[in-house]
C-alpha cells in the first residue's frame, strides 16, 4: 500500500476526533476524542518513518504516547475533582475558574 493511503486515513481519523471535540459536551468523551486526534498524529508519524526508512519517527510516536498518557491522567483527575465538588459534568457549564 502507498504511504498516501495511511496519511489520508490519518487525516480522516483526526477530523473525526476534532468533530467529536466540537460536538460532545461530556468531558470524558472529549478526552476520548483527544485520544483519537493524538493517535491519528501517531499514525502519520509512523507512516512518515516508513516512507523515509528511518526510525526517529517511531521514537517520536512513543513520546506522543507518553504525552497522551499524562494528558489522560490530568484530565481524569480534573473530572474526578469536578465530580467531588458536585459540579455538573458538562463543559458548557464549567465556565468559571475559581476554587
Amino acid at each position: 500500500m502507498d504511504i498516501a493511503w495511511y496519511l489520508v486515513l490519518s487525516a480522516l481519523l483526526f477530523a473525526i476526533g476534532a468533530g467529536g471535540v466540537l460536538l460532545r459536551r461530556n468531558p470524558l468523551v472529549i478526552l476520548l476524542c483527544l485520544e483519537l486526534m493524538l493517535n491519528a498524529a501517531n499514525l502519520a508519524l509512523v507512516a512518515f518513518a516508513r516512507s523515509t526508512g528511518t526510525q526517529e519517527g517511531q521514537v517520536f510516536a512513543l513520546v506522543v504516547m507518553v504525552v497522551a498518557a499524562c494528558e489522560v491522567v490530568i484530565g481524569l483527575g480534573l473530572i474526578v475533582a469536578m465530580f467531588r465538588r458536585q459540579l455538573p459534568l458538562d463543559v458548557d457549564d464549567a465556565r468559571k475558574l475559581h476554587g
Binding site: 477530523a15 489522560v72 491522567v73
Partner: protein, 192 residues
C-alpha cells in the same frame, strides 16, 4: 494480501472512531476506542513498527483504557442533555470536521514529497524492533527519554493533587474542607 490487511485495519479504526463520537453512553465510547486502538496497532504492524504496536496494545488499550473505565464507573453514567447551549452546534461541528479533513488531505497529497506515492524503501532487518527502538531511546534520544519520565512524574503528582481529598485541619475542627464533609454519593446529577 497487504491491501486486505490495510483495509481491514482501516475499517476497524474508522468504525471505532465513529463509535467514540456517535455513541451516547460514555462507557460504550470507551469500548469503541479500544476497538479503534487495536485496529490501529494492526496498521502499525503493517508499517513495520512492531514495538509501537505492542506498546499501543499493552499501554494504551490495556492500562489507559482501564483508567478510563474506572473513572467512568466512579462518576456514573452521565447522559448528555438534549438541549444545545450553542445553537446549531450539531450541524456546525461536522462541517468544521469535514473542512479539517479536506484541508489536511490537500496539504498531504499536494505536497512535493515524492516518497508518499510509493511503499517506501526496502528496510534493513530489525527495523522497528524493541532492540533498535531501545538503542535510539537510550543513546540518541536520552534527554527526550528522561524528559518524558519527568513529565510522567509531574502528571502523576498533579493528578493526586487535583483529585485528592483534602484533609481536615486537626487544630480547627470547624474549618474542615468543604468537599471532605459531603459524601460523593449525594451527587444529584448521577443517573442511576
Amino acid at each position: 494480501m497487504e491491501a486486505v490487511a490495510f483495509f481491514a485495519g482501516a475499517i476497524g479504526a474508522l468504525a471505532g472512531a465513529v463509535g467514540v463520537v456517535a455513541l451516547r453512553n460514555p462507557f460504550y465510547s470507551v469500548l469503541a476506542l479500544i476497538v479503534h486502538l487495536i485496529a490501529l496497532a494492526g496498521l502499525f504492524l503493517l508499517l513495520y513498527a512492531e514495538f509501537i504496536a505492542a506498546a499501543q496494545i499493552v499501554v494504551y488499550a490495556g492500562a489507559v483504557m482501564v483508567l478510563y473505565l474506572f473513572v467512568n464507573a466512579y462518576v456514573g453514567g452521565v447522559e448528555e442533555p438534549i438541549w444545545e447551549p450553542i445553537p446549531g452546534q450539531r450541524f456546525l461541528a461536522p462541517i468544521f470536521a469535514g473542512a479539517i479533513f479536506v484541508e489536511i488531505s490537500i496539504a498531504v497529497l499536494g505536497t512535493g514529497l515524492s516518497a508518499i506515492d510509493s511503499e517506501g524503501p526496502t528496510l534493513p532487518g530489525g527495523f522497528g524492533t524493541p532492540a533498535e527502538i531501545g538503542e535510539f531511546m537510550l543513546e540518541k534520544f536520552l534527554v527526550v527519554f528522561e524528559g518524558a519520565s519527568l513529565l510522567l512524574l509531574v502528571a502523576a503528582v498533579g493528578a493526586v493533587v487535583l483529585a485528592g481529598r483534602k484533609r481536615r485541619e486537626p487544630t480547627n475542627p470547624d474549618g474542615g474542607g468543604r468537599e471532605a464533609e459531603q459524601p460523593a454519593s449525594t451527587y444529584s446529577g448521577v443517573a442511576s
